[in-house]
Amino acid sequence: MSGQTELTGKMAASPKEWLAPVARRAEVLVIPLAALLAGFAIFSIFLLLQGKSPTEFFSLVYRAGFGTSFSWQNTLSRTAPLLFAGLCVALPARLGLVVIGGEGAIVLGGVATGALGAVMLGSSGYVALPLMALAGVVVGGLWIGLVGAMRYYRGVNETIASLLMAYIAIAVMNHLVEGPLRDPSNPNKPSTLGLTDGLRIGDIPGWNVHWGLAAGLVCCVLTWVLIERTTWGFAARITGGNIRAAQVQGLPVGRLILGFTALGGAFAGLAGFFEVTAVHGSANSSLAAGFGYTGILIAFLARHNALAIIPVAILLAGFEASSGLIQRRMDLPDATMLVLQGMVFIAILLSDTAYGRFKIFAPERWKSA
């Protein structure tokens, strides 16, 4: 990197001038894509060893996830929580923190939403829904913000702490929906009181996809602006690069850690809000559906870039949408998707070792001939 400035001067004269910036940017696109394909390849070998057809697997994923407008709507309606869950991992990751307990914030954000909704059943949606969203956001933000606070004030490892807190969150949810918040009229599944139609979030007009998708997309774009185009984001990126250097520079490292973890948690809480108001209609154990864990993989695949989270989340939502069909058609267990996720995850982390190794992405190392 050090010799880059003097070399770019020489490069200016070369006919490959326009290629240099393209090549530099291509690295962060090509390597993750190659890793994704490598993950798929390992998974295909795994399927072949089981005597199953990878071609059938991927064509079923395409058909059930992306083949028709119906499957697109199915995929997109599963995308919303994944966008939020991905942001919950990506935001702290820009500071160098690996927070993997977004599941807890989703669950408790959903419970807060359901609990407030149960109290405000008679109110108008225009009053109640913003308050319910606020409840989800605040609870989720506090939950992951607490992880940030433990990290900053006590040096507690955020990865372990956040995952422990996810287990605690699920226990708290079980306690609340089976105890104090339980709807006595629903004997089957312990849930909070069912929300009235006025307190439900509907679909985007003309689509069979709820508004959570639009909200998630907006949040991704806003987060991208925050990180890439504001001084706060700049400070965060410096902190993520080298925390000691950031402290020496006098950057507000503590406020950044608290703010970014809380913001990530707030997004996860919003996922819980949409799950309750748009999908389930009450808070119950369906909230712990594993979106938070899929979000970890999404954020790493997107290299913690908020805009890249969008296509990656859609891709993984498509895989989840096709899970049922694959189980039936190919007689594969539901854990197949987890195996695939694990293999892709390992491939993407392995690809970290490939950066800077290929000349083609480093114009300063191109031969001047």
Partner: protein
Amino acid sequence: MNELGIWTIPIAVLGGAIRVSTPFLFVSLGEVLTERSGRINLGLEGTLVIGAMVGYAAAYLTGSAWLGVLAAALAGSIFGLIHGLICSMPRVNDIAIGIAMMILGTGLAFYFGKNYVQPVAPDLPAIPFGWWSNIPQLQAALNVNVLFLIGAVAAFAMWWMFKSTRVGLVIRVVGDSTDAARAMGLRPNVIRTFATMAGGAFAGIGGAYLSLFYPGSWNEGISSGQGLMAVALVIFARWNPVACFGAALLFGGAGALGPSLQSAGFSQGYHLFFAAPYILTLGVLIATSSTTRALTGAPGELSITK
């Protein structure tokens, strides 16, 4: 409630401490070995689950619980090997790899374990240390599994290994300073890979205990974060195998609190008691971590304490 009244709870917690602590003990011993060499393997949660599945399946297919334990150790060491090899490459984040291995291990265990939810595999033997008592609860509590005793011996053996053997010294040097190890002619990546492999084998045995003794069957909910808690427990135990033994007993007791309250007839709020081990772990982490001073006993090359 029965004639023992409120005493059922401490007896159940004591029995639980012995029964529930064994997986904690094995996973944390494995993690101590790995972390002392300068790496962290967060994936032991996944290794625990795969150990439980492989151990159960092997015990069912061979009819021998001990062959199950062996198979689980083997599966665990393969997972450790994968983790160790991947982390030997430059710029690969060992914490993130651990998360990926957690997902992969759980996924593979559920994938292959689907067929073993129904069959019944042979159990591991236990020694009835409660023969002198005529209280059935106490007898049940003191029915100590052989693996618990092996784990206890292993804890002391590992402590001795770190203190007074050449292997222990080599692992400690590699863990404390990569540069010093290189200067001594050691190959840090090779040693760390072996340490991670051995650590994985320990975690696999811990998993086999779950499926072959307590709770004693294979299902997808068999581990709920025990592997992860054991990793946290290592920090609390200050990378000392003997302290791990004590910490595992403490965590086992906390883990037994929820089920024993439930069996004693408390139905209100028992979900919160199920959260007790997680809250205890978190509390211990908060109490023992620090931002200003280096953690005593921490290996110098460990990424989580840097």
